[in-house]
């Protein structure tokens, strides 16, 4: 079985895995990184949303082979120790989570959006297609706007 070396949340990891095994299962089942959640397995619910070299990905449809030599950031790697990322802070201030299951993915999608657009419009925020089955969308919208002003 092939072996892949890449970086997860700042630490180098080496795993033995089939080339087409989705990164989500490498993270969750081989490395014990459980922040990214399974919700669909086909990249449409986006609960697993994380970053690869700083860009948004859905690990459930990202083959591990494509990560070799690159850097993966999951929700666990977003805060700087006990200091939360401004988007996480905004999420707490707006009390966004209900069941919380989709929120790691929502936050990682919001961070990726804010990287591209410092002051996202409602139309920009509408493009985040992550499902929140508890229906927290309005608080997510408010939190993204609050984070944008924090990061201004």
């Amino acid at each position: 079985m092939p072996v892949y070396t890449f970086v997860v949340n700042g630490s180098a990891v080496t795993v033995e895995a089939p080339a087409d095994l989705a990164l989500l299962w490498v993270l969750r089942d081989k490395l014990g990184v459980r922040g990214p959640k399974f919700g669909c397995g086909i990249g449409v619910c986006r609960a697993c949303t994380s970053h690869l070299d700083g860009a948004e990905i859905q690990p459930c449809v990202t083959p591990v082979a494509s990560c070799a030599g690159r850097s993966v950031t999951t929700i666990e790697g977003l805060a700087d120790g006990d200091t939360l990322h401004p988007v996480q802070e905004a999420w707490l201030e707006q009390d966004v989570p209900q069941c919380g299951y989709c929120q790691p993915g929502q936050i990682m999608a919001a961070v990726a959006l804010l990287k591209e657009k410092r002051e996202p419009t409602d139309e920009d925020i509408d493009k985040i297609a992550n499902v929140c089955r508890c229906g927290t969308y309005f608080r997510i919208r408010q939190a993204i706007k609050a984070a944008a002003s924090k990061m201004g």
Binding site: M1, A17, P18, L21, L24, W25, V26, R28, D29, K30, G32, R34, G35, P36, K37, F38, G39, C40, G41, I42, V44, C45, A47, T74, I75, E76, L78, A79, L84, Q88, W91, L92, D95, V96, P97, Q98, C99, G100, Y101, C102, Q103, P104, I107, D122, I125, D126, K127, I128, A129, N130, V131, C132, R133, C134, G135, T136, Y137, F138, R139, R141
Partner: protein, 733 residues
């Protein structure tokens, strides 16, 4: 109200905990008021005694044992709550109750979900919007008794009378101003003998309860540290998935696993009642092997049925009206609602470790006692040998009333003789999981001389499965009996939840269910989303026929001032009647349930009738006594999003025995692009006892959205979701 001390003092001394069990609350029954000048409607069953009160009554004999509190030597107070948290905010709300009574910072309260506790009988069911209503008194009494004990311990230790002591910020305050932290008193308090009766604070003295607080678990959630079922590690429990039949309730005829067995990472394969289980080192490998299995199947239980057949059965099942339409002016309407998946983000999942002499289960479970009892019977163990841990769930919306995932995991663990970590795929969840049953509604209202004379509603529904009973095996068995059985349960739930809040003369609501052997379950607000939603649409049409404005009409016919106040609130805050561009419109809806009431006013952009969007919502809610207004607003926001989804786009198509939808790309639950840009939720001040909140938001919003759509487009919606094409290529079966 009495308080008694727990008998497990040996354990307490060893653990340096103070643990208390406290006695039952008193049941109260509300008597509805009536309005004058309209033809009063006799109180309906749900007004006299609603489902929540029945659940409280069923739980009363065991309410004394409900709340278990531990005061740790570190000053942390832990409430063990025999309910399931699935996002509805009950852990935060109950932590607030504890913090309030103990004069303790909220940050020092933890809430742990209790394992299945069979001695609680009917009192470990999370449903019917009933948690806060059923635990409000027991939790406050437990905390008040703990405080009394801590005061007594301090009094004894310092040689002062307890009446001269007070509590503040997690400490007992002595007459000279010195503070003794609770943690320093727990051992002494636990060793005291005697009865420490204490009344909770008067509600007028509440400082924390009634204020907006954030979830106590939010930080763990936003940092990815929060653990759901599949995030737990149980030694040896490996990823497990199930290959499922091409139709609902099909079973395995034959399996060729030759290819799958040799695939990388595969550990075990075996047949179980629901399909073929595959265990592997990772879920990805388990799913790959699952897809490589060659399976032939026996038929399922509804193979010949598609939506058109089910709809025909429902139309035939709707009971006739009593009032003929000949002599009076009348409005008639019929409505159809599709099946809807619960679709919680966390799919059905469970960890099971079944051994020869014992079993241990971990899952998100809203009826853990009946789960324990059923699993014990299924794996051939005594109930006492089966431990069921309740894990906080990633959403439920009614889904986790059923424990099919936990039962299946136990069966796989037993069959393969190894612990398993079972995950349903999203397609499993949508096609073989539970759904809100499809319903058909016939409504007729007659009117004359400015009054509504009669209001009839005939509901025909595919049977809602209530075989979880009241959460334990006796009533679950009663719900399974061929005579009476589930039908009696369904009628009871219908009659004790659905309630026409208007003085509409003679009101009759009748339910007739069509039993089909498929997987259904109560879905947030049970019958009310469709039933009351349809009624709120008819109310608008009735108002129009009687030449009245929808808000003014509701105002005239609502029964109580409290109901009119929430309606007035949304009408003023939402600027009812303001002018909007062409293609936009406002709509209003009202709902009263579980001793709470709400009004919802939405604005819809339906310039393209095929692509409507609710752009604004104003909600007012009166729950009698809000514990955490911020959590309550979250529940109302969730109910609104559910209503947007199910009214406009989200449903399941049944085709020859199976839902076509297999993921969120096909089942169109709302996304950010479908959500309003502006939401205001007004929480009315406390006036009484806590009512229900979790399910309250859906029905009024369904009515408001449908009414806004009708006004914006001129199209009277009759079938829901309104926009419901099969706009996808279904996954292979």
């Amino acid at each position: 109200m009495t308080t008694r001390d727990d008998a497990v003092s040996d354990g307490l001394a060893r653990r340096h905990f103070l643990t208390l069990l406290v006695a039952a609350p008193v049941l109260t029954i509300a008597v509805p008021g009536t309005a004058s000048a309209v033809i009063p409607t006799l109180p309906q069953p749900a007004e006299i005694r609603d489902l929540g009160e029945i659940l409280i009554l069923a739980g009363t004999p065991t309410a004394g044992a409900l709340a278990v509190l531990e005061v740790g030597a570190d000053g942390i107070v832990t409430l063990e709550l025999p309910r399931a948290e699935v996002g509805q905010g009950i852990t935060t709300a109950t932590a607030m109750l504890v913090a309030e009574e103990l004069d303790l910072p909220l940050s020092r309260v933890r809430v742990r979900l209790a394992d299945a506790r069979p001695e609680l009988l009917f009192n470990q069911l999370t449903g019917g919007s009933n948690t806060i209503r059923s635990v409000y008194d027991p939790v406050r009494h437990a905390a008040a008794a703990a405080r009394a004990r801590l005061l007594a311990a301090a009094a004894k230790q310092e040689g002062v009378d307890a009446s001269r002591l007070s509590t503040r910020d997690g400490s007992v305050i002595l007459p000279d101003g010195r503070a003794i932290a609770y943690g320093l008193l727990t051992s002494a308090a636990a060793s005291l003998t005697g009865v420490f009766a204490a009344q909770p604070k008067p509600e007028s003295e509440h400082k924390l309860v009634g204020t907006a607080q954030s979830r106590i678990d939010a930080r763990a959630m936003v940092t990815g540290q929060f653990k759901y079922t599949l995030d737990h590690d149980v030694p040896g429990a490996m990823p497990t998935v199930v290959r499922r039949p091409p139709t609902i309730n099909g079973s395995v005829r034959s399996v060729d696993s030759a290819v799958a067995e040799k695939m990388p990472g595969v550990l075990a394969i075996g047949v179980v009642p629901t399909g073929v289980a595959v265990v592997a080192e990772t879920f990805g490998q388990a799913m790959a092997a699952r897809d490589a299995l060659k399976v032939t199947w026996n038929p399922g239980t509804i193979d010949s049925l598609s939506d058109v057949d089910i709809r025909a059965k429902l139309h035939a099942a709707a009971l006739p009206f009593v009032v003929p339409p000949l002599l009076t002016q009348h409005v008639d309407a019929e409505f159809d609602f599709a099946f809807v998946s619960h679709a919680p983000m966390e799919t059905n999942s469970a960890i099971a470790d079944v051994r020869a002499d014992r079993a241990e289960i971990w899952a998100g479970l809203k009826s853990p006692i009946v789960a324990q009892q059923t699993i014990a019977a299924a794996v051939g163990l005594p109930e006492s040998a089966v431990t069921v841990h309740v894990v906080q769930g990633g959403g439920s919306f009614g889904r986790r009333l059923f424990f099919d995932g936990a039962l299946e995991a136990a069966q796989i663990s037993k069959a393969l003789n190894r612990p398993v970590k079972l995950m349903w795929s999203r397609t499993d969840d949508m096609r073989h999981g539970r759904a809100r049953p499809a319903t058909h509604h016939k409504l007729r209202a007659t009117f004359g001389l400015g009054n509504v004379l009669t209001f009839e509603h005939r509901v025909a529904a595919v049977e809602t499965d209530f075989r979880h009973g009241l959460g334990e095996v006796l009533t679950a068995t009663a719900a399974s009996l061929p005579v009476g059985g589930n039908l009696s349960f369904a009628q009871t739930v219908f009659l004790t939840t659905v309630n026409v809040p208007y003085n509409f003369g003679v009101v009759t609501s009748l339910l007739n269910e069509v039993p089909l052997k498929m997987h259904t379950a109560a879905w947030r607000s049970v019958y009310s989303a469709n039933t009351r939603g349809a009624e709120e649409i008819l109310v608008d049409e009735l108002a129009a026929r009687m030449g009245k404005d929808p808000v003014a009409f509701r105002r005239e016919f609502l029964k109580t001032a409290r109901q009119r106040a929430v309606l007035d609130k949304v009408a003023s805050a939402g600027q009812w009647g303001r002018s909007l561009p062409r293609g936009f419109a406002q709509g209003v809806g009202f709902h009263d349930e579980y001793q709470s009431c709400t009004a919802c006013l939405v604005e819809i952009d339906a310039r393209d009738p095929k692509a409507p969007r609710v752009v604004k919502a104003v909600i007012a809610v009166d729950v009698g006594r809000p514990i955490n207004p911020r959590g309550l607003q979250a529940q109302m926001l969730g109910g609104l999003t559910d209503a947007i989804s199910t009214t406009l786009r989200a449903g399941l198509h049944i085709d020859r025995g199976l839902p076509l939808e297999g993921s969120y790309s096909q089942f169109h639950y709302a996304r950010q692009k479908d959500a309003p840009l502006d939401v205001q939720i007004h929480v009315m001040p406390a006036t009484g006892s806590p009512g229900g909140a979790g399910e309250l938001g859906v029905p009024a919003a369904v009515g408001a959205i449908a009414n806004a759509y009708a006004r914006a487009t001129g199209i009277a919606p009759r079938s829901f979701p309104i926009i419901f094409p099969v706009d996808f290529e279904p996954f292979p079966r």
